[in-house]
């Protein structure tokens, strides 16, 4: 059965894990009430930096694997 590469799962676990942790912290510690905090963890990290990091590893590692195989796509 075809199966997405390991790096796909790394990105998925990172993103959903981060989101779940934020929601748990909001529900238990109320971090959403720390002045300015939601902007940094939900907007800058959750909306911008982590998806961007995923998009980088999703092209970097497949390209590296292609080079190791001795060719491009």
């Amino acid at each position: 059965m075809p199966w997405p590469p390991k790096v796909f799962w790394v990105g998925v676990v990172l993103y959903y894990g981060f989101t779940a942790l934020c929601w748990i912290a909001e529900a238990t510690s109320g971090i959403n009430h720390i002045v300015g905090a939601p902007f940094w963890y939900a907007a800058i990290l959750g909306t911008f930096l982590i998806p961007l990091f995923m998009s980088v590893i999703y092209f970097y590692f497949p390209e590296k694997a292609e080079e190791a195989r001795g060719g491009g796509a």
């Binding site: 929601w23 529900a27 939601p38 998009s55």
Partner: protein, 531 residues
Amino acid sequence: MVTVEAPVIGITVLYFIAIIVIGYYSRQRLKSATDYYVAGRQVGAVVNGLALESTYLSPASMLGLPAYVFIIGYPFWWAMAAIIAGMPIATLLTASALRKYAPTSFADYYADRYNDERLRWLVGIVTVIAAVLYITLSIVGMALFLLAVAKVPYIIGLIVGTVIVMLYVVWGGMIATSWNAAFQAALMTIAAVIAAIAIVSSLGGINGFYEAVAANNPKFWNTPSDPQPPHVFSGTWIAVIGWFFVWHYGFATMPYTVVRFFTTMDIKTARRSIFWCTLFAGIFYVALQVIGASSKLMIETGPMSGTGANAVEILKGYMAKYGVGGWPDYSMIAAVEALQNPWVLGILCAGGLAIAMSTAAGWVMVVNTLLTRDWGSMLLKSKFAQERPILLARIVSVVFLAVGFIVAINPPGLVLDLSGWAFVVIISALGPGLILGLWWKRATRAAMWTTAIIMTVLHLYAWLKAKLVLGHHAFFFLNDVLFGNKAALITPHQVWAIPVGFILFIVVSLITKPPQEEVVQKYCVELTQEV
């Protein structure tokens, strides 16, 4: 006499000139039908990435989104985050494999993987319905920006916007659409960032912004765990999770993004283009989160406000004044007007036109390829379609834009609302066949037909029942039957439909005859190896 400040007119006119010039010059590069349909597969990573952003994000992002944010509250930020995170997920889920396969139309993969040419009809019909709804929404969006910001009469705005999109789609097909969409993405991102920076600066920085929003809208930063959630739609964690997932997988499966993966030079460019898309779309959405959070405050303290002003009432005043769309559609315009800076307003007008035009053009390109190549040439074996494909594609483009224009003259509210339905129906009806067709050998033709037909009909019924009988499309359509309370379960945009579509597809696949091994090997195993 209504006065419009010179920067607004100047920036809007410059924007129109720029996209007409790009469209005209791209005509010279058009040599074949492949150039028209998929830009000769010569689009680079940066251009494709930007084009993906502006095509995927519909005019709703620049019209009603701020109102959704200030009404539903901070939990809606996570729905916006999930839209952006859905972009990289598509890289290895569908984009790489589909670029390796290099089809021309959205229906190619379905017909080949499931070994059934008739699927071109089925996939085409579902896509055409969605296209008409989205093209209409986009044309209304263009005219609404011209009306509310540049004070251009609605009918003139409709004509100007439609004719310009027609010109560049007819001239340069996917080449013009790609370059213009890239330019439009840059513009709308810059517009949102400038507006967000201006708002945050006026409120005294990030912390000042947080506190000002909290003072104006005390429940805004709350979550379902707080005693008073911002709204009933964000009142439970189930609802928040629903919002999170409702648009999350669209990027991997929607026709207007999927066809952009076909236009890139190679698989490497396809992957890298999603990086550029995520970069610009992420910046754009952070800016929209800020604008949305502060829009209530900005509207209530802006020039349209009075003592004890209420943002919703002010926006209803906008709607009554201009007579088009719903009151949330004016939230972005009203929030930026509150800054009283004509340069920012002018850039916002160009950015709003950009996001609307790019979405309309993207959908037109999907349907002109489907109707000309798949239906006309391959299924009906039309001599005209086979000998003059570019001419026919141009005619189809004009027809779809003309239909959108006619509906947009007096747009029924239901038609505009249904674009949200169309988004989910494509993912739930056609998404399982696309994703599982690539990643699951057992995916069968019977499952593809069953899921596409049942989910389209079921979701239309559910959406209409929720909207017309229960009162809002975000209510679960069986609330009255199961719980005796129409608002018992909030399932934004019927988010249940996507898992139900996948489950239905899996069940039907398991009980029907497995596909031929050689087809599976070619269109499933080989495409997904080393993506």
